[in-house]
Amino acid sequence: MATSRPSIWGRVWGIILPYRARLVVSSATLLILTGLGLVSPAISARLIGRALPEYDRDLFLICVAALFVVHLLSNILSYLYSYQMRILGGRVVFDLRRRMYDHLQRLSLGFFESRSSGEIISRMMNDVNSITSLVTGTVLNALISTFKALAILVVLFWTSTDVTLVALAVLPLHFLGYFFFRNRISHTAWKSSEKMSQIYGKVSEVLGAMKMVKSHSGEMRESRTLITQLRESYDINLYSGNLGSIWGHTTGNISYVGQVAVMLVCGSAVIDQELTLEEYILLMSYVAMLYQPVAELIGVVQQILPAKVGIRRVFEIMDMEPEVVDQPTGSRETIKGEVVFNDVSFAYAQGDQVLADVSFHAEPGEVVAFVGPSGSGKTTIANLIARFYDRSRGEILIDGRDIQEYTLRSLRDQMSIVLQETFLFRGTILDNIRYGKPDSTIEEIEEAARLANAHEFICTMPDSYQSLIGSNGTRLSGGQRQRIAIARALIRNPRILILDEATSALDTVSESKVQDALQRLMLDRTTFVIAHRLSTIKNANKIVVLKEGRVEQVGSHSELIDQIGLYRELYDPEWAKEQKRLRDERIEELARDAGYVEEPEA
């Protein structure tokens, strides 16, 4: 099946299309402006060629008045034109950014994990802007310049075919210039955009990690890194500017060669009395005006090439589809919270396998803990339960139905996640708790805060629930932030709760308060706990021990602690050390049995 491939300009036109009425008005204004531009030389020629040599005062005054009126009209229309363009450009950018932001919200988590936020911001702000410049000036200018050039050509042909042909003789040189510079400018524009994305990415990363940078005395290092990137960006932009400038000057010189040629031909004709002075002035003015749109067109091309790069970068994002999607007949049923993993395997795109044949069963209301060394796949399981990713193989059932049969909205509305790194939005405490359930009442919010052990400290703050907490809750302690996050999770009254290292960053006092809150939060909900501190998961109904993406052991704490295995190794380091010693001894013995002779110590 052949696919119709819409051109990039077709898609840009699709964006502008809703504003076609405004575009028509702007084009009409510009056409009138062009027409007025063509009238001026004729009036000037009449003034210099006839009114002044013939001492005709009336004609002189009429010409001056006409020039004034034309100038005034041109200025008024110019203002109207630029006003229309500002509105058009602003609306197109508004629409595009809104659409892009909506689209970004729909994309799957994998997209955001594979790109830096700075790069995405750069595309949304910088690259979208390139469309504005294209819409507001470039497209119409290109149309009008072409129209103007054609109009002047008609007038010139009508006035003198020979002169027109002489004037056109240099046009092929302009095409040569275009072919020479086109790819170079495009490539430089692409490099410039990429570099700008990297700079945005770097700045956004460093600003987000300023505490870490300062704690590692990395300020100077970061400055150096950015300076290097800025220097590269400067080099690219300088080169790009030079290319544009050289092209512009080359165009000017080519045009001037044409003008000189016409001047020679027309001047000779005047001397031979084959042409009047008025005709000479008129022809020279029109020839000059013929080259002006050519120069403008080349200027437009210089804008289009980088704009095209920006537009493609925007469309690349807009064309992406979410990897995790709802089925057309997705269920919105309320869930009880039974979760079953049957031989589930998962690998990130083009990466190594992270989970292999993982199976476990969580009854509604049970607490299931995942333990294991770093990289064993604990958080990946949590991501699969929340359907941030879809499994590669196997089956994940919720209340006996495949997880993919539920709509994402319905599934996540019945689920809450509390992470080690809590994220709080800039705003009040009230807003942050309410984020979990936008239609919640003040009473519900206070109740959630009470259950999360947060009400007490919130009430001691000057503005209580209306207190501003700064960006990411910087005015709160780690434990306080975590309790607000728990309140936010509680207010949703989720059926499934995921606690991903929710207390591992807290001190003992904060942890005990958060643990109290978590115990209340876990009541009557299926809870999945990921914890490195194994003392916190002793009471779990089931503990799933993971190693290298596989399930090593499953059981309760009392069952697992009696078994020789990874759980006991993790839970009791002394026992693990002793086991290792015994193992070493056994291997030594085996080696001796196989003929190994220990060398005497020197």
């Binding site: 099946m1 052949a2 696919t3 491939r5 819409p6 990039i8 994309l107 799957s108 994998g110 997209f111 490539h187 100077m220 290092r221 150096r224 493609r312 469309f315 690349e316 807009m318 064309d319 992406m320 589809e321 979410p322 990897e323 990130y348 795109a349 083009q350 990466g351 190594d352 290298e548 193992r583 070493d584 056994r586 291997i587 030594e588 085996l590 080696a591 196989a594 003929g595 190994y596």
Partner: protein, 389 residues
């Protein structure tokens, strides 16, 4: 700077035409927390710079006298030495560039730099289009930096068309073999290798007198290749074998040093195998002497030029529509981008630019010589010295 007539540019009387070429050579040295640009270093470096100075009548980085700069890298200070060469006559190119690289080396040997050379970069006009000039640079590099047995030939990493980074490559397999995954390297062994590597790192003392590597057996009829873990040392050590098996369940075979040295092609280092069998991240691909990066999304699009039997369709011209149809159903393209035409356009453009694909108008085909492209790891000079085998 050296102005060298291009090797291929010969005038009507057989005399090489004058095509002056300005080379800018930069050596970066490893950072050191103790290095200071003291008066002594400055004076001694001036003496060295004078010794190797060649007038280029140019300024800045193309000036013929070496300049030392310092950069902060981490907690240390790293030096960078820049020198220009201008070659005006054919034949003088080798000597001219040789003296510049020799100077880099002497700065290191006389302890004037922050540490050993970590990387060398050369800039000259359209460097990635001029194999004859690269050949000279390559010969010089091989001559000046041939430090030890096992050093591979100089390779050029092309980041920009005018800028090449000099280093060495470890070659694994052809790009086609990598894409088909039917050679000696297979990702299914990665977990085993990872386990052994981790154990070796945890128990460094126990295995310090031994070197571990793999013997690979070519796969039969598309099956997964077989690997054997081996080690070499003074003599076979049952204890080593027992511990490794006890902790990783892998049996290791002893290979005498003489056999290891004489039949090196049979054996692969653990780190090399791990790198060669990765199915993620970017790849280094060598096209003749130029090494280019191949990004994961580009790898995915290259598969679109393969048929159902995973054979590259060399010489076949594909229309854009054909490639797009393949993209829509390809498992090698991320699901998010499968229906994106812009994605295909952008990736194809990058592949054409890096000469993995040739295009004429709206038709595309695998580049000439695609079957010879090699999957390698490019190491900067300093990295190669330190690489783990």
């Amino acid at each position: 700077m050296t102005a060298a007539p291009k090797q291929t540019a010969v005038g009507s009387r057989g005399v090489p035409r004058l095509r002056p070429t300005a080379f800018d050579l930069v050596a970066h040295y490893e950072p050191s927390a103790h290095f200071k640009f003291t008066r002594r270093v400055r004076n001694d470096f001036d003496v060295l710079a004078d010794e190797y100075s060649r007038s280029t009548w140019l300024l800045g980085r193309y000036g013929g006298r070496a300049v030392m700069q310092t950069d902060i890298e981490g907690i240390g200070v790293a030096c960078r030495v820049e020198i220009g060469r201008l070659v005006l006559r054919g034949g003088s190119q080798f000597a001219s560039i040789h003296s510049a690289m020799q100077m880099f080396r002497e700065a290191q040997d006389r302890n004037l730099a922050s540490g050993p050379i970590s990387r060398i970069i050369v800039h000259f006009h359209k460097a990635d289009h001029r194999p004859a000039d690269r050949e000279i640079v390559r010969a010089v590099f091989n001559d000046v930096f041939a430090d030890k047995e096992g050093d591979t030939e100089c390779a050029f990493l092309a980041e920009e068309k005018d800028r090449l980074e000099l280093g060495r490559c470890v070659e694994y397999q052809t790009l086609t073999t990598y894409l088909r995954e039917d050679g000696h390297y297979h990702s299914s062994h990665r977990a085993r290798i990872d386990k052994v590597q981790r154990h070796l790192q945890q128990e460094v003392g126990r295995y310090e007198n031994h070197r571990f590597f793999l013997r690979t057996h070519a796969p039969q009829d598309g099956s997964v290749p077989v690997i054997d873990f081996c080690y070499t040392g003074e003599s076979a050590d049952i204890r080593v074998e027992a511990f490794l098996e006890g902790y990783t369940n892998e049996k290791v075979q002893f290979v005498p040093r003489s056999e290891y040295r004489s039949e090196t092609t049979q054996f692969t280092g653990l780190a090399d195998y791990e790198r060669a069998s990765r199915r993620f991240g970017k790849l280094w691909i060598r096209q003749a002497d130029i090494v280019r990066r191949l990004l994961p999304q580009q790898v995915g699009v290259l598969y679109l030029f393969f048929n159902e039997q995973m054979q590259p369709e060399l010489g076949r011209n594909f229309t854009w529509d054909e490639i797009f149809e393949r993209q829509r159903i390809s498992n090698f393209i991320s699901r998010a981008s499968r229906n994106s035409q812009t994605y295909l356009d952008m990736v194809l453009e990058g592949l054409v630019l890096d000469r993995f694909i040739e295009s004429s108008g709206e038709s595309f085909r695998l580049a000439t010589g695609f079957e010879d492209f090699q999957h390698v790891t490019f190491y900067q000079l300093g990295e190669f010295r330190k690489r783990q085998i």
